[in-house]
């Protein structure tokens, strides 16, 4: 909230003025800032970014001063927050897709500051980098597990907003599940929020009532996992290890591992080697990882491990033809994989076999 934001800005300015007095004998530490969409305690998306920021602090120690601002809404608020950070920082990580326009705007006004925008694709000035992870590789793995583990052949999917990132996840999970279980169906509920535990729980209950016995989520709270535990079905966690919320429900969680990237980027600023780049790392580079595999037979776990190994060496691609679009028109021919741009980056259609109507 606004008052917390103010406090952290105040704290930060106090800190930096103290450093100005005492730090003259040393090289100036890099000043890095992180802007978060949710609370760091969501145990999902924001938590994972915050763990990354912690890794930067641990590895660079006195070499870095970190400012973190939580729960910044994706509206004009974010532009104000990013602007105020740009006045006092060397590098700013804006960690949500919706910060794209404000990041681009502020970057144009502060050419000496480096900007890193997560999950975006716009780099109009050479002080912006974009980075994301191939989370659809993670969805590919959990899709296979889901296809094996379901009895009702219905996967319930709690989706946040219809942006390419989320659409890729749905398509990848569905295709992987279908590859091991041709009868699979996927039911999708859009909740239009990243973090509303009550609504996420309601959506999970609705999906379970409609026959889903596996819950996948692309929202940030642990609520769907707790509902799965309560209702006796299985579920996958999101962004961080959610085993604790569903000891009998948890299959695995896709873990976002941002730390090494953040360390490298902050170091690059310190060394003066930072350049504008576009990063889209996956299992192979270690940006997408998995929580322990639980509540599944060994064969299913081995299959999942094999899939991860294949992804690790680049032997499989979650989108390998033949794949048609939902309306039956061809997308990928036999054996074909899609180009990163535009097909994957801007994905805006369901693949054939998904019954739900594509959200407009």
């Amino acid at each position: 909230m606004a008052n917390r934001r103010l406090t952290s800005i105040l704290k930060f300015s106090l800190l930096s003025s103290m450093l100005a007095f005492t730090g003259s004998a040393f090289a100036d530490p890099v000043k890095a800032a992180f802007v978060y969409i949710g609370p760091t305690g969501d145990h999902g998306w924001t938590y994972a970014h915050d763990q990354g920021a912690n890794m930067v602090q641990d590895q660079l120690g006195d070499g870095v001063v970190i400012t973190r601002i939580e729960s910044v809404a994706e509206n004009s608020d974010s532009e104000r927050v990013i602007t105020s950070l740009a006045r006092k920082n060397d590098i700013i990580f804006t960690t949500s897709f919706g910060y794209m326009n404000p990041t681009v705007k502020v970057a144009a006004r502060y050419p000496d500051v480096k900007f890193e925008h997560a999950t975006g694709y716009m780099r109009p000035t050479d002080n912006i980098s974009t980075y994301s992870a191939r989370f659809y590789e993670g969805r590919h793995v959990i899709g296979k597990i889901a296809g094996r583990m379901t009895n009702s052949n219905i996967i319930g999917y709690i989706a946040s907003f219809p942006i390419p990132e989320v659409i890729r996840g749905i398509n990848a999970a569905f295709l992987a599940a279908k590859s091991v279980n041709p009868d699979i169906q996927i039911k999708i509920i859009w909740v239009y929020t990243w973090f509303d535990p009550g609504k996420e729980a309601d959506a999970a209950r609705a999906l379970i009532a409609q026959g889903a016995d596996i819950i996948m989520q692309h929202t940030d709270s642990t609520a769907p996992m707790t509902v799965a535990e309560d209702e006796g079905v299985l579920a996958f966690g999101q962004a961080s290890d959610m085993t604790a919320w569903g000891p009998n429900a948890h299959l695995t969680s896709i873990i976002d591992e941002w730390g090494p990237y953040y360390v490298a980027r902050v170091k690059a600023v310190a060394d003066g080697t930072w350049t504008s780049t576009d990063t889209f790392d996956g299992v192979e580079e270690g940006m997408v990882e998995f929580a322990p595999f639980t509540n599944m037979p060994d064969e299913v776990m081995w299959e999942a491990q094999d899939t991860i190994l294949d992804l690790d060496v680049g032997a499989v691609h979650p989108f390998t033809g033949p794949i048609n679009r939902q309306d039956g028109s061809p997308w990928l021919a036999e054996g074909e994989t899609p180009p990163m741009f535009p097909d994957i980056i801007t994905m805006d259609f369901y693949v054939e076999g998904i019954d739900s109507k594509y959200p407009n």
């Binding site: 969501d42 909740v191 009550g198 309601d202 609705a206």
Partner: protein, 309 residues
């Protein structure tokens, strides 16, 4: 659709409605006394945290609910002190209370988002709960669900069947007149505000203990504001709060289920429906009441009472 699904939908609607019923019935009594407390969201979130923390440390659902009730009252007492003793503006103080509640709960609750607890279990009455259809629909809820409906009845009974209720309504309609004939305006209002805080606190705890057993910053997600809207929707009539909450919870749950059945209606539109419904209902109430003189809105709502003697 099979009957199991219909039962699940009805139970889902009840669960989504209960936090709204608690918060709204508390606010209704507050507004009936002539006080407008916009701090419902803040009181709910503090209740949600207090309930979760006490459940986590003691494992006692009873103590957890009690703690939520007391926490709601505690934060409401700040509002009572400011508006009734220091005579500050109700709207500004209420907004401040919401911001304060969200902030302090986020601060105090830091470590607790890592923890999880057991859901408060629903009741099970032998024979009755096992009865087909009627059993799950009527006799298998969490005790707090029954309490919510009972509180609505209690508030109605208090307002319209007791002398104190009559005095409270009189104070809400004309505090100067009530004061002139010797009623203690401030005492009534302070007690009403504390009651409102208690109800909002329990409503919040229902979220973190029954709907989903986790603590998350901002987890009330605007439900306090919806509760305030429901009081207007109910035109300050207790039983209409239930109706409004069920409509609201119903649309929320049905739109989720509709998506699961892939009803061909855009999801954004469905998400908008609860809010559209509120606006439509507000407008239609206004149209209906336009020419009536006996509106139910308390005349002194939000007005500051200066004791002249």
């Amino acid at each position: 659709m099979n009957e199991g699904l219909i039962i699940a939908i009805i139970i889902g609607i009840s669960i989504a409605s209960v936090p709204l019923i608690f918060a709204a019935i508390g606010e209704l009594l507050v507004e009936r006394s002539g006080v407008l407390n916009l701090g419902v969201e803040g009181m709910m979130i503090v209740g949600a945290l207090a309930g979760f923390v006490v459940e986590f440390h003691t494992g006692s659902s009873f103590l957890a609910v009690l703690a939520a009730l007391l926490a709601g009252m505690a934060i409401a007492s700040i509002f009572a002190f400011l508006t009734q003793i220091l005579l500050t503006n109700h709207v500004a103080t209420g907004l401040a209370l919401t911001l304060f509640g969200l902030g302090i709960s986020a601060f105090v609750g830091r470590g607790y988002s890592e923890e999880n607890i057991e859901l408060i279990s629903a009741i099970h009455i032998p024979l009755l709960s096992d009865f087909p259809i009627v059993g799950p629909l009527l006799f298998s809820y969490n005790p707090l669900v029954y309490l919510a409906f009972f509180m609505v009845f209690l508030v109605w009974w208090f307002l319209f069947k007791t002398k104190q209720g009559l005095i409270l309504r009189a104070i809400g309609d004309n505090h100067d007149a009530a004061h002139a004939i010797g009623h203690n305006v401030i005492r009534y209002r302070v007690l009403a505000i504390l009651f409102g805080g208690a109800m909002a606190g329990i409503g919040g705890a229902f979220l973190s203990l029954v709907q989903v057993p986790i603590w998350g910053e901002d987890m009330t997600a605007g439900r306090g504001w919806i509760a305030i809207g429901l009081v207007v929707f109910s035109s300050w009539q207790p039983f209409k709060v239930i109706l409004g909450a069920l409509i609201f919870g119903g649309i929320t749950i049905l739109q989720l289920h509709a998506q699961g059945f892939d009803v061909r209606i855009s999801a954004q539109y469905l998400s908008m429906l609860p809010y559209l419904a509120t606006i439509v209902i507000l407008v239609s109430l206004r149209m209906r009441d336009k020419n009536k003189t006996n509106r139910t809105m308390p005349n002194c709502l939000g007005r500051i009472f200066h004791s002249t003697s």
